[in-house]
Amino acid sequence: MIAMPARISRADVAHVARLARLELTDDELERFTEQLGAVLEHAGDVAALDTAGVAPTAHPLPLGNVLREDNVVASLDRDEVLAQAPAVEAHRFKVPPILGEAP
């Protein structure tokens, strides 16, 4: 049996919003804390279920070893790709300054 998590707090919601890169207003924070709490409470029946010895199902059907051959396929036209981008420079995607190294 897995321990039931405590009800989601406003601080949890704020943390999750940071992880998900969503800027929330105070209003949204308030509303989401309440709504997520309700949905998770409903999901409590699942969290509380005794599933000892039950394997998780990640895939509904038992497929395996799906592979393709190492053959080159034509890439997209660069102009078509870059035409969709919000900002481009020197044939690259332009982004605002990145403040941290990749993890």
């Binding site: 895939h59 053959n71 080159v72 995607f93 332009k94 403040l99 941290g100």
Partner: protein
């Protein structure tokens, strides 16, 4: 982002009462024709954003399909590192970064393809390999403004050609005990990766990237100290420098009563220091979960054994072979150099033809190694022939070296090169005739020499030297003299 001031190295030696503990994570780009999950070209140095498609750009609706050759290369690496190949699955590692088109990386997490192997250093010490798993590479970011440094840049530009290139990450156990040993490990690993054909091993092009987990502990302690992970070391030299710096820093922190913080630190080549990459508001939580767009991978046993059977000889085996042929110690630098230069075939060919294999190793490890990359003009046959000419006395040591230099510079056959250098007069027969003429001209001295007056050897050598204008190999002359005396 906290940026520590560059840390002044502690004024004492890191050796002594502290032991260094290092584990390495080596990312290796595979030499497939295409990317891990799509048919775009896997190539270094192409025009930006030309090798991209809906899949590797992470366009909505696109789906990954695993490259069979990438799996094959991953298994080659695992088997060469004595790992078990196991059923594996891919996970998503979720975090936002502009070089990742999907804002998650597809990587093997708790069920990697290769587990539990080892790599033998040239010294024979075994370094444990925890795992060697598959994952996709990220794109490449260029920082513009602020001198190209990430922290001061005005903006950044992203090229996704590298996004989705197949990687194998090889994670060692914390078995390495010094920066020097870490370098040996990477060197050996690189040799193995290149031998399997899985990688070109080019650190400078980023196809081999090394991160180091470093900690220190009091000598004799069995518990590990708190470790830091060092990133951004892009040469063997910076690997050694960064580890030495970090070890010194940690000892300095500990001896001044502080605690080492578990964190990732970035190696700065320019000022020779590591600095914290911690970001104040960011606690990384990768939210790994099984990648639902891919299915489990369980290479059938026939495939695994076929890959194992087709593995080429690995550097350690090749060193053993060279050592056996030459009688030199297996951990000698000369043997390692010959294998590293991929010239061990020359040694075995020479040995097979009856030439002096130890001499072959020394010549290759000295003359050929010093010549840079021009060994490709030399053939194993020509090299063997040259060794034989030298041992048979048709060339002196000095002449043989000279001929070798010419062969390396311009190619050709040893006899032709020797002739063009005017060394042909010294053909074994000619030298033999000169010896015979000197004997005939001095019958009294020869009789005394045969009777046992050894000091006359110097007289005869001097006579032959004079007769040949100084070109004769004196060691060969003395052996000819001894041969004729014993036959007299």
């Amino acid at each position: 982002m906290t940026t520590d001031a560059p840390h002044a190295p502690a004024p004492f030696s890191p050796t002594g009462e502290w032991e260094t503990v290092i584990g390495l994570e080596v990312h290796c780009e595979l030499r497939t024709a295409t990317k891990l999950f799509c048919g775009c070209r896997n190539a270094f140095g192409d025009e930006p954003n030309t090798n991209v498609c809906p899949v590797c750009l992470g366009l909505p609706g696109s789906l990954p399909v695993l490259n069979r050759m990438a799996v094959e290369y991953a298994m080659r690496i695992g088997l060469a590192l004595h790992c078990r190949v196991e059923p594996s699955i891919f996970h998503r590692k979720n975090y936002f970064y502009p070089d990742m088109p999907k804002d998650y990386q597809v990587s093997q997490y708790d069920r990697p393809i290769n587990v539990d192997g080892w790599l033998a250093l040239p010294t024979g010490r075994r370094i444990g390999i925890e795992r060697a798993h598959m994952e996709e590479d990220t794109g490449k970011t260029t920082h513009v403004g602020g001198g190209g440094r990430i922290h001061d840049a005005g903006y950044s530009l992203v090229d996704y050609n590298r996004a989705g290139v197949p990687l194998v990450e090889i994670v060692s156990r914390p078995d390495l005990r010094s920066a020097a040993e870490a370098r040996y490990y990477v060197d050996e690993l690189r040799g193995i990766l290149v031998a399997t054909g899985a990688s070109d091993g080019k650190m400078e092009e980023g196809s081999l990237r090394v991160d180091a987990n470093v900690s220190v502990r009091p000598m004799g302690s069995t518990e590990f100290g708190t470790r830091t992970e060092i990133k951004n070391m892009n040469s063997m030299r910076s690997l050694g420098r960064a580890i030495d710096y970090e070890v010194t820093r940690q000892i300095s922190v500990l001896t001044s009563g502080g605690r080492v913080v578990q964190e990732t630190r970035h190696w700065n080549e320019a000022d020779g220091s590591t600095r914290s990459m911690r970001s104040k508001e960011e606690a990384f939580d990768y939210r790994y979960f099984p990648e639902p767009d891919l299915v489990p991978l369980a290479p059938p046993p026939e495939w695994v054994s076929a890959v194992a059977a087709a593995l080429p000889a690995l550097p350690a085996d090749r060193r053993a072979r060279v050592a056996a042929a030459s009688g030199l110690p297996v951990d000698s630098d000369a043997v390692a150099t010959v294998v590293h230069l991929d010239l061990d075939g020359f040694v075995t060919a020479a040995a097979a033809a009856g030439a002096d294999a130890a001499l072959a190793v020394r010549r290759l490890a000295n003359e050929v190694a010093a010549s840079g990359d021009s060994a490709h003009r030399l053939s194993a046959d020509g090299f063997t022939q040259l060794l034989l000419m030298e041992s048979q006395g048709s060339l002196t040591t000095a002449q043989a070296r000279e001929v070798l230099r010419h062969l390396l510079a311009t190619g050709g056959s040893p006899s032709a090169v020797a002739a063009s250098l005017g060394f042909e007069a010294l053909a074994a027969d000619a030298l033999g005739s000169a010896v015979d003429e000197v004997i005939a001209a001095h019958p009294d001295e020869w009789g005394r020499f045969v009777a046992g007056e050894d000091k006359l050897q110097g007289f005869f050598i001097g006579q032959v030297k004079a007769a040949t204008g100084g070109k004769a190999d004196l060691k060969v002359v003395s052996s000819l003299l001894r041969a004729r005396r014993s036959g007299a």
